[in-house]
Symmetry: D2
Subunit: 89 residues, 4 copies
Amino acid sequence: MGVGVSVSKYVVECQRIFEASGLNHDMHSYGTNVEGEWNAVMATVKQCHEKMHEMGAPRCTSSLRVGTRSDRDQSMQDKIDSVYQKMQI
Amino acid sequence: MGVGVSVSKYVVECQRIFEASGLNHDMHSYGTNVEGEWNAVMATVKQCHEKMHEMGAPRCTSSLRVGTRSDRDQSMQDKIDSVYQKMQI
Amino acid sequence: MGVGVSVSKYVVECQRIFEASGLNHDMHSYGTNVEGEWNAVMATVKQCHEKMHEMGAPRCTSSLRVGTRSDRDQSMQDKIDSVYQKMQI
Amino acid sequence: MGVGVSVSKYVVECQRIFEASGLNHDMHSYGTNVEGEWNAVMATVKQCHEKMHEMGAPRCTSSLRVGTRSDRDQSMQDKIDSVYQKMQI
């Protein structure tokens, strides 16, 4: 907020941060999915906020949905695969 | 909520509703992006909630981010393209 | 987005729209809870987006969490009461 | 997810975690606002996820909106006050 209407140059910097993080990530048209351990993911999101402020944005808001599960490993791709597989039946 | 831990069969039904809607949509690993006029999009999301209840889910929660712009047309793809284009520079 | 860093005058107009709607609503420091039938609530949120554009905001993003339940009536207040009651035990 | 339809006992435990954290927090009917330094807030949210799993929830999803600003201090109460003040004019 406070940097005008076009924000793609800010999104670019966040993408670079996600790439540098080594975390598995996947940008879509309204956000980016990131997978990893809690602390690593949150540290990366924090870096994005810090970068936005450094670039001159006085306010920065993120909308995060954070999912954890304790019953089994499940990757981002597993979730997609599970839906597509069921759709073919 | 109230239907156990595996929800992919519910996601499948939502995907079918989005496909039947004729709206441009794109499922990713933590949601689905949909593009169209406000009323058409919201009617489709409502259908998803109704279907979840019909399938036996007593509670259904959606987390929506809704973006509208009045200055120009911009598709979901335009946004992605804009970021990737800047990343190559 | 695109209207600077202070947005309280926009929030004020949204509050006025919620008040005029006749829906039960409750503003907190990071949003407003609204309770009612799906169509009435969504029509009111749409009015907010339209007003933001009218006031000159070229882009408007809302982050909505939408909860429906088919098993019983439950007001916003019921949910709060249920938690506070359990905390006293 | 995976713990049935009534979740207030889980909300109660999260409230206890926020209270123990020493962070300024405010529960409303669809979430809790928390204010503080990034690391302290995120560590507290992480504790909530861990507690949910400990209590037997196999999957836990949070929907967070995270706002940071670099231009000035602003408390949760300041934001509310700013809106109410403008509404009285």
